[in-house]
């Protein structure tokens, strides 16, 4: 067959399937198809071959490494759109990133504000309750135990906080002269009651009351040996903490693609945390950038394309860090800690869990840490959700102030 005449049924069938058959040839072909079983079989074969070819996903997807190599060798920078387009998004540049992460940034910002507000409000509330408690107890004490001359005392000194005796756990009988120092130098009272008749008390401003942990012993003048009230209230003086961490690990699913060059700092995150009202738990915000592998199918023009890539992903969110009080002696006083992180990324929601050890000095506020980390990223493409996991090690240091 040197020439294709198009008159042969088989030839016409090929032309039909390729959309090249002239309309005048359609009727003869359909008649032949109706009459010829072999021709129908040939049509089935050709359709099966074509359908299989169109499912050849591997052939239609340039690997991300190849794409990166093309842009590098042509002297162009790989646009963010190249990775974004695979995830079903469009656009590029900073605006594209911002558009993708504005929700997590907003949530993180609000969380930071709320956290700060709660911490501040809780602190002020505790101080306020102390003050009100002092006044209240003062009144009770006044009514119950100082019905006699104490009433006169109170008349003379209406703000005299006798409740201070309860707060500082003054012993039932104070035999020797004791003094509670008074920053505001309130008037001296003597005697106060029968059971403390020999006591000389100098009252102090309730807000600066210091507790004497020793019972049944005379009070000593206030000095630096007294433990600050903040310690009793579980509010650590170093309320804020900056964290800088590096991240490394293996990604699942495994893809034959490398992270594109020139996409900025990678495998790094920065966090800012507040000390929460709960012991040894910091709450705050954290954000950074690290690569996650993606392996998904994209349908374009009726064809399916499998994408494999490993883009750098910007993320942000809220986290909680908890430390155990105990230290491990044989690991150079290492202190175990754990962290939970929930947030978002430019591709989708992101969660992280960490557990490890931290070393350093709480007094100096400087700590180094090393931990195992697991990350979970969910992303959507053409209404189908995919996941990407990462397991590895995180390390870095924190500064508290």
């Amino acid at each position: 067959m040197n020439n294709l005449t198009g008159n042969n049924s088989s030839e016409m069938l090929h032309l039909l399937l390729d959309g090249e058959l002239a309309s005048v040839q359609e009727v003869p072909l359909f008649s032949a198809l109706a009459a010829n079983e072999n021709l129908r079989g040939e049509m089935k074969d050709l359709i099966a071959i074509r359908n299989s070819v169109h499912r050849d996903e591997e052939a239609f997807i340039p690997p991300f490494a190849a794409t990166a190599a093309v842009f590098q060798s042509t002297g162009f920078s790989l646009p963010l759109a190249a990775s974004a387009v695979a995830a079903g998004t469009t656009g590029g540049g900073f605006y594209s990133i911002l558009k993708s992460v504005w929700v997590p940034i907003l949530v993180a910002g609000m969380s930071a504000f709320i956290t700060y507000f709660l911490v501040s409000a809780n602190y002020n509330q505790q101080i306020a309750s102390i003050k009100s408690g002092i006044q209240k107890n003062y009144a009770v004490n006044n009514a119950q135990s100082n019905a006699g001359n104490s009433g006169q005392i109170m008349n003379n000194h209406p703000t005299a906080p006798k409740v201070i005796i309860k707060y500082v756990k003054v012993p039932a009988i104070i035999s020797s002269e004791s003094t509670v120092s008074n920053a505001d130098a309130l008037p001296t009272i003597e005697p106060i009651a029968d059971n403390i008749s020999s006591t000389r008390i100098h009252y102090q401003n309730p807000a600066s009351i210091h507790l004497n942990p020793i019972l049944n012993t005379p009070f000593k003048p206030m000095s630096s040996a007294y433990e600050p009230m903040y310690a009793k209230l579980s509010i650590h003086p170093k309320e804020y903490m900056f964290i800088l961490r590096g991240l490394t690990g293996a990604t699942v699913p495994s893809v034959n693609a490398s992270t594109p060059a020139g996409s900025g700092l990678s495998n790094i995150s920065l966090g800012f945390y507040f000390l929460s009202p709960y012991n040894n738990i910091h709450i705050g915000v954290e954000g950074g950038q690290e690569p996650f592998s993606q392996n998904f199918v994209n349908t374009e023009g009726g064809r399916k394309f499998r994408y494999e890539q490993r883009p750098n992903v910007v993320f942000g969110g809220v986290g909680a860090i908890g430390k155990l009080n105990s230290k491990i002696d044989f690991l150079y006083d290492a202190q175990p800690f754990g962290q939970l992180f929930v947030g978002g990324s430019e591709l989708g929601p992101l969660g992280k869990m960490m557990a490890g050890l931290t070393w350093g000095s709480d007094n100096l506020g400087l700590n180094a840490f090393l931990a195992l980390e697991g990350s979970f990223l969910a992303y959507q493409n053409q209404s189908i959700w995919y996941t990407s996991q990462k397991f590895g090690i995180t390390y870095g240091f924190s500064v508290q102030f």
């Binding site: 294709l4 093309v70 590029g92 605006y95």
Partner: protein, 186 residues
């Protein structure tokens, strides 16, 4: 100029000679439009993944270089495919030991998916038919080119395209006939 999908291929090709920012965006848009068919041609014509990636990369390098020379561009995908074809042919010429059909014919007892198995057999069949047939078959089935476009890319006549494509499909069908006849029973 962040949204370039409103420009046609020829306008984008002309933009490659503009300032770097514009050229970068224009190239990215052209890449998104045509990279799949270029890669498909390389991958199926050469078979070897590494060779395919090398040719794929070289194609775009030559494409960008050609934009710097004075040229009247009429059909960008055809131009890209011509570059790709020439590079693929060069790679094939350097091959000392072409892989034969028999090398591939190792039955895979773990293969349960009919479609995947058929696709594997088609790829094997493509490697044993003459390259001039394979070339046309890929341009038609993988790159979706019409007969006229294939004639333009391959610089042959329309009737030659029809004949080669017909023969390519017939040969592939002939190779796969034992499998296809089994498949059609179900």
């Amino acid at each position: 100029m962040s949204n370039l999908d409103q420009y046609n291929d020829i306008e984008l090709f002309d933009m490659l000679n503009s300032d770097k920012k514009t050229a970068e965006l224009a190239f990215a848009e052209l890449y998104l439009r045509h990279s799949s068919r270029i890669y498909a041609y390389c991958r199926r014509f050469l078979g070897n993944k590494d060779d395919a990636q090398d040719v794929f990369q070289d194609t775009f390098v030559k494409f960008v270089e050609s934009a710097k020379k004075p040229r009247s561009m009429t059909n960008v995908p055809a131009f890209l495919l011509r570059i790709t074809r020439n590079l693929c042919v060069n790679v094939k010429r350097k091959e000392k030991y072409p892989i034969t059909f028999e090398d591939y014919m190792v039955p895979d007892v773990h293969e349960n998916n009919d479609n995947e198995e058929l696709l594997k057999l088609i790829k094997m069949a493509m490697d044993i038919i003459p390259e001039e047939y394979k070339d046309i078959f890929i341009l038609r089935e993988y790159d979706g080119l019409s007969y006229t476009e294939i004639a333009e890319v391959t610089n042959t006549t329309l009737s030659a395209v029809k004949i080669k494509l017909f023969r390519a499909k017939q040969k592939i069908r002939e190779i796969l006939s034992p499998y296809l006849s089994e498949l059609n029973k179900y």
